[in-house]
């Protein structure tokens, strides 16, 4: 039996969604060339929740931006659904969530979520339909007519996730989406994000600075290190898909966290 069939029998479909091969990206800055990514090989499969963790400058955000066609590699290839990132963008393959919610202050929450739909030319009825569905997904029903300033930081970030989900992209790329929020709100949003992932079966790429967050959320954890930005370890999570918050106190969880920390240390993340 081929390994692929074996996986299918275990109920996990192994369709590669994002495939990076020998990916290189060098920025030309005033201080000379900076190698943001070097020889990055990674496959993200459909339905995966992959976290990228590492210190500043390790290229985790850059990798996500290359996948979203916001940066273009200087070497190697990256494909999304078998297409180039630019083509995948035209096909609305992914939604992107930034560190700040970035809601337009002059638009209500509902109008903010409809923004991508307006640009992509959805009909009025279809916009409304999508809006109601994603508001329910992020638990913001009844807040559509509020302006962003009337919502807390956590609610604003949920609205921005709803905006990324609105146009039915199968891939969700999240760049430290909860980095600016306090820990209690962050815990709550992590729980909600897992529930959302479970319900929708999206493929998620998630950049974070937090080891517990990465371990709690992910099916796979990609540990990266800087100068040049590269992958030092890829850790398959052994945790079950069902994850209550207190799973973080189990020995299994702590062991994965330990391995992540070891990976960071091996990449000299704690130097200087």
């Amino acid at each position: 039996m081929a390994p692929l069939d074996e996986e299918r029998m275990n109920g996990v479909a192994q369709d590669p969604v994002i495939v990076a091969e020998k990916l290189d990206l060098t920025f030309q800055t005033n201080d000379g060339a900076v190698q943001a990514l070097r020889d990055v090989n990674l496959t993200i499969n459909k339905g995966d929740f992959v976290s990228f963790i590492g210190p500043s400058g390790c290229g985790k955000t850059t990798f996500l931006r290359v996948a979203a066609a916001l940066e273009h590699p200087t070497g190697g290839t990256l494909s999304v659904n078998g297409m180039t990132p630019d083509e995948a963008r035209q096909q609305r393959a992914y939604g992107y969530v930034f560190q700040a919610a970035g809601l337009y202050p002059w638009r209500t929450i509902a109008k903010n979520i409809k923004l991508p739909l307006e640009i992509m030319g959805y009909s009025k009825e279809s916009q409304q339909e999508h809006l109601e569905r994603v508001l329910k997904l992020v638990d913001l029903e009844g807040f559509g007519e509020k302006f962003p300033w009337q919502l807390s930081g956590g609610m604003q970030q949920r609205a921005s996730i709803a905006r990324a989900l609105a146009f039915d992209a199968d891939i969700l790329l999240m760049d430290e989406p909860f980095g600016a929020l306090d820990e209690i709100v962050r815990d709550h949003l992590n729980e909600q994000l897992l529930a959302l992932w479970e319900r929708t079966g999206k493929t998620i790429g998630f950049v974070t600075h937090s080891i517990p967050e990465a371990v709690y959320l992910s099916t796979r954890i990609v540990v990266m290190s800087p100068r040049p930005g590269r992958i030092t370890d890829v850790i398959e999570s052994t945790l079950p898909r069902e994850r209550p918050l207190d799973i973080r106190d189990t020995p299994e969880f702590l062991e994965i966290a330990h391995r992540v920390r070891e990976g960071l240390r091996a990449g000299h993340a704690y130097d200087d």
């Binding site: 066609a69 916001l70 337009y104 202050p105 991508p116």
Partner: protein
């Protein structure tokens, strides 16, 4: 402002009136201090003339003789002849007219003339103010459209950014008093007269703050917001209408306020080389020809009040627009 509104809605009339008083009191105090200082300044400014007239009328002043007094300090004279302080406040052609004289002149040439049914006579400040106002508003409209248009070009085209901006800055370093007569003369010689030449001088002054403000406003969205739109494959025009333009609104109104004030200055300056026939600028010039200081000050105040009203109208539009957009809470 919004604090006052909240206080009055929740706490009833007493707290509401109090909140209003908290706003009004500082204004009243500042105005009172300015008027007080003005009255005090009138005494030494006008004392020599007052003493000369009093001496002519037979009074004894210290020291006697205009020649002796000429080289004395005005403050010293005022202190030595404090009995004549009152006379400094009601002269016909004072060096510095007292506030009530200016107020009286303002009323005589506005409200008083309305009551007499001569609101638009040649001596009325309403008439002259209207002439200046129409040039100001027309020039402001031209300047604003030009400024916004330039800003859109500069933000979207690197070539325009490099080619136009230095000229726009250079244009503002030329003293307007030097270029205004040339604009009038040149336009006159090709048959353009009346409102338009003055309006063009206003536009010349007002396009710049609008252009600079709008460039800043249209560039105010940060990289993250622009990246977000590129993940939707938004076009340049969609980015403009949905992000850049709404983001620029606070900048737009602020720069329009500056533009409006500059436009009024332009219109007044534009009235000077035309022979001082009509408008507040003409009134200022005529006043200085004939030593009518009261008339000059009245025209100055009329111009200031006009500017305050125009800027206030833009402020009102700003508040209404931003409120409608949900950008003021």
């Amino acid at each position: 402002m919004s604090d006052a509104a909240i206080a009055s809605s929740s706490g009833g009339f007493g707290t509401g009136a109090r909140a209003v008083w908290d706003v009004v009191l500082p204004v009243v105090v500042v105005v009172a201090v300015i008027i007080g200082a003005w009255y005090v300044a009138c005494v030494p400014m006008n004392i020599k003339e007052a003493l000369t007239q009093a001496e002519r009328a037979g009074a004894v002043v210290e020291p006697a003789g205009a020649k002796e007094r000429r080289d004395m300090s005005a403050v010293g004279l005022a202190l030595a002849n404090s009995a004549y302080a009152r006379d400094t406040l009601n002269q016909e052609r004072p060096r510095l007219p007292a506030p009530h004289q200016v107020g009286q002149e303002l009323w005589n040439t506005t409200g008083g003339m309305v009551l007499n049914g001569k609101a638009f006579s040649k001596r009325s400040l309403i008439y002259h103010g209207w002439v200046t106002l129409s040039a100001t508003v027309l020039g402001f409209a031209i300047g604003t459209v030009a400024g916004v248009g330039l800003a859109i070009g500069i933000v979207h085209s690197r070539v325009m950014n490099m080619a136009v901006m230095p000229w726009a800055i250079a244009s503002q370093t030329i003293p307007i008093l030097a270029i205004a007569p040339m604009i009038i003369v040149v336009l006159n010689s090709i048959g353009v007269t009346g409102l338009l030449p003055k309006a063009l001088i206003s536009a010349y002054l007002s396009f710049f703050p609008v252009a600079v403000g709008m460039v800043k406003g249209l560039r105010s969205p940060d990289n993250m917001q622009l990246d977000l739109l590129s993940t939707y494959s938004a076009s340049q025009s969609e980015t403009f209408w949905k992000l850049r333009l709404p983001s620029s609104m606070p900048y737009f109104f602020t720069s329009m306020k500056i533009g409006m004030a500059a436009s009024l200055v332009g219109a007044i300056v534009g009235e000077l080389p035309t022979g001082a026939v009509r408008g507040l600028g003409a009134r200022l010039l005529a006043g200085s020809y004939y030593g009518q200081t009261v008339q000059i000050w009245a025209a100055l105040f009329a111009a200031a009040i006009l500017a305050a009203v125009l800027v206030g109208v833009i402020g009102l539009l700003q508040r209404m627009t931003l409120k409608k957009m949900g950008m003021v809470h």
